[in-house]
């Protein structure tokens, strides 16, 4: 089975409306099961621990499929892969970060941070950008203020 065929089959199964269920003998840590039971009984996060497990499994599988499809696409079309700066700009937009209004600034800091940290994440770029902007602002304020000692 190719990766594409596996993806298509997983997608078919995820889309299935077949109500049939199966019993599984899945072994999970006892503490995790107890935590899930408490979440159901005391926090009402789901109707049952089985529902929690099934929902979590579905969420993970859907995310895995999407990422695998994208990875296959990037293998075929490397130029389609968004850059670290592209993703940092989107992260800024989605988090209402003011730097989203200055994408050229994010691009500059993304270039800087990958020099030191080749595996930097979009969030790292934004933290680095915030830190650099703060430092630059402090330096500007210091330069604007006259030397008080000389004036005394």
């Amino acid at each position: 089975m190719t990766r594409e065929e596996a993806i298509d089959r997983i997608n078919e199964l995820l889309d299935s409306t077949d109500p049939e269920t199966v019993n599984t003998s899945m072994r999970i840590p006892k503490a995790l099961r107890e935590a899930a039971a408490l979440a159901v009984d005391e926090l009402g996060v789901a109707t049952s621990t089985t529902a929690i497990a099934a929902n979590a499994l579905r969420t993970l599988l859907e995310a895995t499929v999407r990422l695998e499809v994208l990875e296959l696409h990037f293998e075929q079309y490397p130029e389609a892969r968004p850059s670290l700066a592209d993703l940092a700009i989107i992260t800024a937009e989605w988090n209402d970060n003011p730097l989203a209004q200055r994408p050229e600034c994010i691009r500059r800091y993304a270039e800087e941070i990958v020099q030191r940290h080749p595996n930097a994440e979009p969030e790292d770029v934004l933290l680095w950008a915030d830190a650099r902007e703060y430092t630059a602002e402090q330096q500007r304020e210091s330069a604007d203020q006259p030397d008080q000692r000389g004036a005394a």
């Binding site: 969420t59 993970l60 499809v69 993703l87 700009i89 989605w94 979009p122």
Partner: protein
């Protein structure tokens, strides 16, 4: 869909996503990738397309030429009775096209905390949102 954020695609966004040679392909891919990575971190961000946009874009889910985009699990937003009523109202008030009115209905009825629309017509999307806060990504 009850998500933290929903990303809606218009016709141009669909075309850009589908075609690796499209000048905006990488731009739209960024949003789809970020949504997928967020979902993997259990931050629920979904990507969806109104079905009338699919019609306009010629996106036939049974067509082999749409295999890549089909595999991305982009959800349909059907034009059911309630959304049809909402879209009809938007079309009457704004003069929007059927697809834009459907997008507007999807925007206005979205249960997500945030709505992002990827579009070639930012002005039209703000018009059909009719005041609902949205983030518009212009292609």
């Amino acid at each position: 869909m009850n998500l933290n954020r929903i990303v809606l695609l218009d016709n141009e966004a669909v075309q850009a996503l589908r075609d690796p040679a499209h000048r905006k392909h990488r731009s739209v891919m960024g949003y789809v990738l970020e949504a997928a990575q967020s979902a993997a971190r259990v931050v629920e961000i979904g990507v969806a397309v109104p079905t009338t946009v699919r019609v306009e874009a010629g996106w036939d889910r049974t067509g082999p030429s749409w295999a890549f985009i089909n595999r991305l699990r982009i959800e349909d937003i059907p034009l059911g009775p309630d959304l049809a009523d909402a879209a009809a109202g938007i079309r009457k008030r704004t003069g929007a096209s059927v697809t834009d009115a459907h997008l507007g209905a999807a925007i206005q009825t979205a249960e997500s905390d945030h709505v992002t629309v990827i579009t070639s017509d930012p002005g039209d999307m703000r018009a059909v949102a009719e005041g609902k806060p949205i983030q518009v990504v212009a292609l």
